[in-house]
């Protein structure tokens, strides 16, 4: 069983939901990421989504765009992101790490080289925003052959047919984008999300993590009541952005937010 599957299974057994933070590798500086990952694990997160910086993040709002720009300004890359995960694994073998990003850096490395490097770094899942199942066959097969879960997105306008397709090609979990828009945008509508989750559940047995629009402990708690996991990204990166001259403070603020989310989610 993959580390992701085991994590979601253990959570389900204890009646808890996964808290999944997203940060961009190398933001605001390359040396920030590794200690931040360890600190987030201490704060009680279950899975870490690590963003691969990209020059043209088309599905992201301004907060995550700027995170990519800061990381790229420090020459962060896919290779260096993999190195960070390798270092993380020296002392942590239990927290699943999912790489999230756009396909071009992966294409530039080559699908097979990337799959091998991801396996060496002990990556658990790869979510490529602009690689829908229609285009993902080759890359997904290489990842699966190495025990890495290809993770796919679902959207508010995904049909039953589409959800079934994701169920067939994806593994680990499915990531439900709770609103039509980019990361960090607007407020999610609880009734809409609930209705959609019912439809999704009817078409897949995979765990469903919900992201986009999770801003604070309250939304985390609400969303935890609907899905199997809660993804929080822009709200964390806003803490980095608010403390660019004080990385220690950024780290503390992120931990504070994640701790409050963890407590709120566990009190469901």
């Amino acid at each position: 069983m993959s580390r992701l599957a085991a994590t979601f299974e253990a959570l389900a057994e204890s009646g808890r939901k996964a808290l999944i933070p997203f940060i961009t590798a190398g933001d605001p500086k390359p040396d920030f990421t590794l200690p931040m990952m360890h600190a987030m694990v201490e704060a009680g997160v279950d899975v870490i989504e690590l963003g691969i910086p990209f020059s043209d993040p088309m599905a992201d709002g301004p907060v995550i765009q700027r995170a990519s720009e800061r990381a790229l300004a420090h020459k962060m890359s896919l290779r260096r992101t993999l190195t960070i995960v390798s270092e993380f694994r020296r002392t942590n073998q239990h927290t699943p790490v999912v790489l999230m990003g756009y396909v071009n850096p992966i294409e530039a490395m080559g699908y097979e080289d990337f799959a091998n490097a991801a396996q060496r770094a002990d990556i658990d899942g790869v979510l490529t925003v602009d690689l829908p199942p229609e285009e993902a066959e080759e890359c997904s097969a290489l990842l699966k052959a190495r025990g890495i879960d290809p993770i796919f997105l679902l959207a508010p306008n995904s049909s039953d047919e589409r959800i079934k397709k994701m169920d067939a090609v994806g593994s680990g979990y499915l990531y439900y984008v709770s609103l039509k828009g980019v990361t960090g945008a607007g407020h999610l509508d609880v009734v809409d999300v609930e209705n959609k989750l019912n439809q999704i559940r009817g078409n897949t047995g995979l765990p469903v993590a919900i992201g986009f629009g999770v801003k604070d402990a309250q939304t985390a708690k609400t969303v935890a009541g609907l899905g199997d996991g809660v993804v929080v990204g822009s709200a964390l990166i806003s803490k980095i952005e608010a403390n660019l001259d004080d990385q220690e403070r950024a780290k503390q603020d992120i931990i504070k937010l994640l701790t409050s989310m963890r407590q709120a989610m566990d009190s469901v």
Binding site: S55, M58, A59, S77, N104, P105, P132, E134, S158, V177
Partner: protein, 400 residues
């Protein structure tokens, strides 16, 4: 080879290029668009409306003009100019925006968005939106807003909202990113009119189909005027919509040489250029796989060209395919050479070309003398140069 060219496949692939590389939220609207586009392409009423608009609103057919004096001066092949500069709004862009806007109307969309670099596609979009009474938002890189203020004003006069994009390199590619973000947020009522043969399937095929009017007319006109097919076609390639529009109807005519001209900026060897087919490598950007300007890590790098309309790090996926198969050849022309082409056409024929088109003119000046006097080159004069007066004067140290 007798098999007829028939690209892309049903999933939008031109060999390894093209495709549908978008986030999940955009899959349903892209499928909806593809269905509508396939349906209306076969609909005689839609085609009749499009043809009538192209004739009476755009002013088609555009002339195929024999540049006799310039041909004589160069001493080689006979040069014929396909006069897309004479279209309403001054460039080929409107062939496509008319088509897509009619499609938007049929699909019941009330809001139009577009990206623009030099502003020509933005103006062409704002124009048709005004005519059809549709809300229009145009995304434009902040750098381009500053250097193309005249076109920004034209778009505003036409009732469009122009949004200056401050992210990334603040140019065309970032405007495209921002338009995609808008679309993903407003998919229900919004139609995204992409200006070139890029983006996810069906855009590269759809924009091509709307632009093939250029090549269909040119072929007919050449046969009528000269009595035979041309020997070579030349067109500038940024995203490549005017080029594919001219080339496509000739792809199966193997005797016709096809040449696309990319922007070499300061020179391909300097790295400061916009010539992905000549000096880039395959990758994925803006919904399709094609040749890109990127670094070793797959990050998109900044491009350079004197012409804002060619200042783009990618190129239409069909051009990537035509390059790999050898059916078309892609060459490049520097800023300085393009300026020479600009002046030559202006002084020899009394036609002021756009800086984009000037790249095609500059390559024609190299090509024509190598050919015999009874050979024929058709060059796409994709747009007129009025919009570039400021840029040209500035480059030549003249204050207007």
């Amino acid at each position: 080879m007798t098999e007829k060219y028939n690209m892309p496949d049903e999933r939008g692939h031109f060999g390894p290029y093209g495709g549908m590389f978008v986030a999940e939220t955009l899959i349903p609207p892209i499928q909806e668009l593809n269905t509508a586009y396939q349906q209306y392409l076969q609909d005689p009423e839609f085609i009749a409306e499009l043809d009538a608009d192209l004739q009476h609103y755009v002013g088609r057919p555009s002339p195929l003009y024999h540049a006799e004096r310039w041909s004589r001066e160069l001493g080689g092949a006979q040069i014929y100019l396909k006069r897309e500069d004479l279209n309403h709004t001054g460039a080929h862009k409107i062939n496509n925006t008319i088509g897509q806007a009619l499609l938007a109307k049929r699909m019941g969309k009330t809001r139009i968005i577009a990206e623009t670099g030099a502003g020509q596609h933005g103006v062409a979009t704002a124009t048709v939106a005004a005519r059809l009474g549709l809300e229009c938002v145009v995304y434009m890189g902040a750098v381009d807003v500053a250097r193309q203020s005249l076109n920004v004003y034209r778009m505003k006069l036409l009732g469009a909202k122009v949004v200056a994009v401050e992210s990334g390199s603040k140019t065309l590619k970032d405007a495209l990113n921002e338009a995609l973000r808008d679309w993903v947020t407003n998919v229900d009522n919004t139609f995204y009119i992409i200006g070139t043969v890029a983006g996810p399937h069906p855009y590269p095929a759809m924009v091509r189909d709307f632009q093939t009017i250029i090549g269909r007319e040119a072929k007919q006109q050449c046969l009528a005027q000269v009595g035979r097919l041309p020997d070579a076609l030349v067109a500038c390639v940024g995203g490549g919509s005017n080029a594919i529009g001219l080339f496509y109807p000739f792809i199966d005519d193997r005797s016709v040489k096809i040449i696309g001209v990319e922007a070499a900026g300061d020179g391909v060897e300097t790295g400061r250029h916009s010539a992905p087919l000549c000096a880039g490598r395959p990758g994925v950007l803006h919904g399709n796989r094609t040749y890109l300007m990127e670094d070793d890590d797959g990050e998109i790098i900044e491009t350079h060209s004197i012409s804002a309309g060619l200042d783009y790090p990618g190129v239409g996926p069909e051009h990537a395919w035509l390059k790999d198969t050898g059916r078309a050849e892609y060459v490049n022309i520097t800023d300085t050479e393009a300026m020479a082409g600009f002046h030559a056409l202006t002084r020899m024929e009394g036609i002021i070309p756009a800086l984009e088109s000037s790249h095609a003119m500059a390559y024609t000046m190299k090509l024509a003398p190598t050919m015999s006097k009874d050979e024929i080159i058709i060059v796409c004069l994709s747009g007129r140069g009025d919009k570039d007066m400021q840029t040209i004067a500035q480059r030549e140290g003249i204050e207007l």
